[in-house]
């Protein structure tokens, strides 16, 4: 029985020769061409339906098998509104996830040998026994609620079921407080509904698309990029507000190269212009909104001239773009964006976005925001989940009152014992999210982990988070398993099936199986009544008039909308909104009730000190954060990130293209690895830009280790949004070190 460890060392190198698994090395065969290449026909012998797990868009598609029965290629499902038959580069490159031989291959348990902490290979039984025992101990000593689940993948549904059955509802995805949380809360406070995923924006029918910092095109959310392309074909106007010349900016009629952190001023100024010139949709605003007078009074001083001084966008440009929006209204979208946790006042900024949309009358109308519908699928016949005694909210009394979902950063913080709290989290189950890269302030995350009694990491790849776990469980990729049906809300309701195209490789297993096995050991077997996931799916499908057999043939089943209300406000019928006043709240009573500003205000944010530059980060269309950094097909496209530096700045510092530099932030934290400089005009002189997800420090990932630098290491400071706890991350500043630092960061 392994003794309790006082401190978790980051176990970098896999030890104890995983020699038993060196047998088949298909990637080598693949590289030398013998698995798929010339001996196989370029013909699909069989295709299996699946939906992609590389990002969160979950496009449905087909896995094609060649004449050897191996996975040959992945294509999109024509009936799927998420992708319309075309997968994005990550989806197409999903084969790399399956064939990556750096994958986790066997369960691992942390032990100490000769004073050194290493992972020893374990059997599934050993691993489950270990976990179950610890979970019961935590439940006895502190309560089951002290175990939390962090998930950012389909597996979370299964572990979530197990954890809820166990007695904890503390389930979180970093996508809330680290990503899109503020927009859900901002829009909910205004319209009584959130944005959801896929976003309910009618881009393909819009006449004017306004992107505030959103970099669709580099952010490769498939449906959005496809619809933006449709909009370009139509001749729609695109207005991009971004300090960087993004791909979207290059396709925009107007690119507003805004000074970073001042977007709120621009939005308020637009609202001012639209109200004062009476360019808003009078009938719509009269009928549906509440608080116009208060709003008008509130924005009185936010003139374009005022905004010019703050944003550096010229007043006539502000007026012109406002007019463009108004001309296009109601077929206009001020896009809420996706990752919006920037400066700490993000909920308010999204409130301004919501208000602007309301003034233009785009919510609920064609070319604006449509009303998605989801297919109702019967719930499983399982016992009710026990009611937990406490939730994560109890760790933050009086704070983040409007947060709708659990905060990943909050749970992380609440794992560190603190004076005012009588208990903290003792156990983490982490599935499909590399918290080291995901959560800001790495040191904080690592400190939190040291306070845990149990840390379980379930992943397909040896991501950094697995190096801190007590138990590592190898999950098979999405191409090797069934999963819950994808029930997504869109213009038409659809369900999609994920079926395995290959047997799980090595000793990996599906999350459903793991959750079921654990549940059995915890005495919660009733929550997984079926023996195989296939049976569970077949049962569910039969409830909606389909079957596993049918779904295996078609992959995606479309249903007709139950209600003909795709654009519920078209024609301005009577409508009651899910808000306190029953109307669209330009003036938010919900915010007011909880003590927050009912109307968004402008706050100036800190600017970079001399010789420092604001760190802006983003996505590349060929990668999904750190998840794909080791995928051989995708590293072929991009195997490292570069830091974008304006030529003026490069000249000042004497930096040349492709020169390696280390980045140091305002707190003195330096990146573990150097990063190459890209001297480009596309970035403003007060900022630097890099793509998120590189700079991996785990040697087990042969293609990702040491490539580029990690922006997550530099995000040590956050501005927390008081309304819902979102962690604003664009408040870090960096400077350049042209020589290797004498004391490394890792």
């Amino acid at each position: 029985m392994p003794k309790t460890l006082n401190r978790r060392d980051f176990i970098r190198i896999s030890s104890l020769g995983l020699g038993g698994l060196a047998a088949a090395n298909p990637i080598f065969d693949w590289l030398s061409g013998s698995v798929m290449a010339n001996e196989s026909l370029q013909e699909t012998i069989k295709r299996i339906p699946t939906y992609c797990e590389v990002c969160f868009w979950k496009c449905a598609g087909w896995a094609h098998l060649n004449d050897k029965g191996d996975i040959w290629k992945l294509t999109g499902n024509d009936d799927d509104p998420h992708c319309n038959g075309r997968l994005c580069p990550r989806g197409t490159g999903g084969v790399g996830m399956y064939y990556d031989d750096d994958r986790l291959k066997t369960p691992l348990i942390r032990t100490e040998v000769d004073g050194k902490q290493i992972f020893k290979e374990a059997s599934w039984n050993e691993a489950f026994d270990f976990i179950a025992k610890k979970m019961k101990k935590i439940a006895d000593e502190h309560g089951p609620e002290c175990i939390a689940l962090f998930s950012h993948g389909s597996g979370g549904k299964h572990f979530g079921r197990m954890l809820k059955a166990f007695g904890s509802q503390n389930i979180t995805a970093p996508s809330y407080a680290q990503c899109r949380g503020p927009r859900e809360v901002g829009f909910f406070a205004t319209y009584g509904e959130g944005i959801g995923s896929p976003e309910r924006v009618d881009i393909r029918d819009t006449d004017c698309l306004v992107l505030i910092g959103s970099h669709i095109g580099e952010n490769m959310h498939n449906g959005q990029v496809q619809e933006m392309s449709d909009a370009i074909d139509k001749g729609s106007t695109i207005i991009t507000v971004d300090p960087r010349f993004s791909t979207a900016a290059s396709k925009s009629k107007h690119w507003l190269p805004i000074k970073p952190s001042t977007d709120m001023a621009l939005l308020l100024s637009w609202i001012h212009v639209i109200i004062n010139n009476e360019w808003y949709d009078k009938k719509y605003v009269d009928k549906y909104t509440f608080g116009l007078d208060e709003l008008k009074e509130h924005v009185k001083s936010y003139t374009p001239e005022w905004a010019y001084g703050i944003t550096t966008i010229k007043p006539h440009v502000i007026r012109k773009t406002a007019k463009e929006m108004a001309n296009a209204a109601p077929s206009v979208i001020i896009h809420p964006g996706r990752h919006v946790t920037w400066y700490g006042d993000d909920t308010q900024r999204l409130r301004a976005v919501a208000i602007l949309n309301a003034l233009l009358g785009s919510w609920g109308r064609r070319g604006g925001f449509y009303n998605p519908e989801k297919k109702k699928v019967a719930k499983l016949n399982i016992p009710r989940f026990p009611k937990p005694q406490k939730t994560w909210r109890d760790a933050f009394p009086g704070k983040f009152k409007l947060a709708g979902l659990a905060l990943a950063s909050g749970i992380c913080d609440a794992t560190i014992p603190a004076a005012g709290r009588d208990c903290s989290f003792k156990g983490w189950i982490v599935n499909g999210t590399n918290l080291i890269s995901t959560l800001p302030n790495q040191a904080n995350t690592i400190e939190a982990i040291q306070n845990l009694d149990l840390m379980v990491a379930i992943d397909t790849m040896p991501m950094e988070i697995t190096g801190y776990a007590d138990v590592v469980l190898p999950e098979c990729t999405y191409l090797e398993r069934y999963d819950n049906l994808r029930i997504s809300g869109h213009r038409e309701p659809t369900i999609a099936l994920r079926a395995p195209a290959a047997e799980p490789k090595y000793n990996s297993k599906s999350a459903w199986w793991m959750a079921k096995e654990l549940s059995n050991r915890l005495g919660l077997g009733d929550y997984f009544p079926f023996e195989e996931e296939e049976e569970e799916l077949d049962w569910q499908l039969k409830q909606v008039g389909s079957s596993l057999e049918e779904m295996k043939k078609i992959g995606v089943k479309k249903y007709n909308r139950q209600y003909d209300d795709l654009y519920p406000l078209e024609g301005l019928p009577d409508y009651e909104f899910n808000t306190n006043s029953g109307k669209i709240e330009l003036y938010s009573t919900a915010m007011e009730d909880e003590g927050y500003d009912p109307l968004p205000k402008y706050t100036a944010h800190e600017e970079p000190p001399t010789d420092f530059y604001r760190l802006i980060y983003g996505r590349a269309p060929m990668h999904t954060f750190s998840r794909t950094a080791n995928n051989p097909n995708l590293t072929d496209l991009m195997d490292e990130n570069k830091v974008w530096v304006n030529p003026k700045v490069a000249k000042e510092w004497g930096l040349k293209n492709n020169q390696e530099v280390w980045l140091e932030n305002q707190d003195g934290v330096v990146t573990s690895f150097p990063i190459k400089v890209r001297v480009t005009e596309r970035i403003r002189w007060d900022s630097v830009y890099m793509v998120h997800g590189f700079g991996h420090t785990d040697k087990r990932m042969s293609r990702a280790y040491g490539k580029g630098a990690s922006d997550s290491e530099l995000i040590t400071r956050t501005k927390v949004d008081p309304v819902m706890g979102g962690t604003g991350m664009r408040v870090n500043f960096v400077t350049f070190l042209t020589e290797a630092p004498t004391k490394g960061a890792a």
Binding site: M622, D636, M638, P647, T680, R682
Partner: protein, 313 residues
């Protein structure tokens, strides 16, 4: 400022970031081709003028090297192929538009001829040689009667061999540095010069050495003239040609070209040869070796520079 990058990580081996598919094998073969052309040319020339006995090295001895040299050259060509087992496909058709095809067939014709040519003179050089087969002796006697005809065809073929290596490169108009008609004559002259140098090196007769030193001087002069015109042509051409010329006028090949090829391989040996002709005591082998080295270096640098030069877009 124009910033052009490949965002999808193109890194095909030997293609990116700069073309480098031909290593040492091709320049080595081009050098051999030029050298052999030079040797055969002079051998044939002096045979036609009936001067076999006056210049025995040029006519009889030097050509003995040619089958071996050509063999080495062809072997290095085989090494260059990336799909070696299929090399025989070269001889299943003649492609009139492909200089590579001409080269393959020209060599097919020249190689046997060099063997025959060497065989004819073998007994002159090694009197004790015995063919061991009667029919070889008789066959060679018959061929010896047609010496002059053979010499004429050899002379023409050697000029083709010497020129075609340059024309081969100039046919690739995707490489601006090679895209000039001067390359053919330049390589021919360089080859003849190398041949003359080798003959100078191998010869024991001072009259032969002096003649070939004078011939070599003329060839060096011609070569320098051609090189100057090469660059003048480029600099008067389009953008891509000017960029190609710049590789040698401040770019990465500047030092190697002007020092190894022009000064070390042409001007310095020319000075040495002039001094030798003025009866200053300088061993002939120094200038000969320099000329040979310069000829080899020329091929290496031209092949490398041509791959680096590209159309700008």
């Amino acid at each position: 400022m124009i910033e052009q990058i490949i965002t999808s990580g193109k890194n095909n081996a030997g293609i990116d970031p700069f073309l480098h598919v031909w290593g040492w094998e091709i320049p080595f073969y081009l050098f051999i081709g030029g050298l052999v052309a030079g040797i055969l040319f002079f051998s044939a020339l002096f045979t036609i003028r009936g001067k076999e006995e006056e210049f025995p090295t040029a006519v009889k001895l030097a050509p003995m090297m040619t089958p071996i040299l050509l063999g080495l050259g062809l072997f290095s060509l085989l090494l260059d192929l990336s799909h070696k087992l299929y090399f025989w496909q070269l001889y299943t058709n003649i492609r009139w538009e492909s200089p590579m095809s001409w080269g393959a067939w020209t060599l097919m014709i020249i190689y046997p001829l060099t063997i025959i040519w060497s065989a004819i003179w073998l007994k002159d050089v090694f009197p004790k040689w015995d063919w061991k087969f009667q029919w070889i002796d008789e066959g060679l006697e018959i061929i010896r009667h047609y010496k002059k005809a053979l010499a004429w065809s050899l002379m023409i073929l050697s000029i083709i061999l010497g020129m075609y290596t340059g024309i081969l490169l100039s046919a690739f108009n995707a490489r601006p540095f090679w895209n000039t008609a001067i390359l053919g004559p330049l390589f021919l002259t360089s080859g003849l010069s190398a041949g003359a140098a080798l003959i100078m090196l191998m010869s024991k007769a001072s009259k032969e050495k002096r003649l070939f030193a004078r011939i070599d001087l003329m060839l060096i002069g011609t070569e320098l003239f051609l090189i100057i015109h090469l660059f003048m042509g480029f600099l008067a051409g389009t953008n891509v040609h000017i960029e190609a010329a710049k590789l040698f006028l401040g770019g990465e090949f500047t030092i190697s070209f002007w020092i190894f090829v022009v000064f070390g391989g042409l001007i310095f040996p020319a000075i040495l040869e002039i001094l030798e002709l003025q009866k200053v005591k300088i061993p002939h082998y120094i200038s000969a070796m320099l000329v040979l080295f310069g000829s080899l270096a020329l091929r290496f640098i031209v092949v490398d520079a041509g791959q680096v030069s590209r159309w700008l877009y």
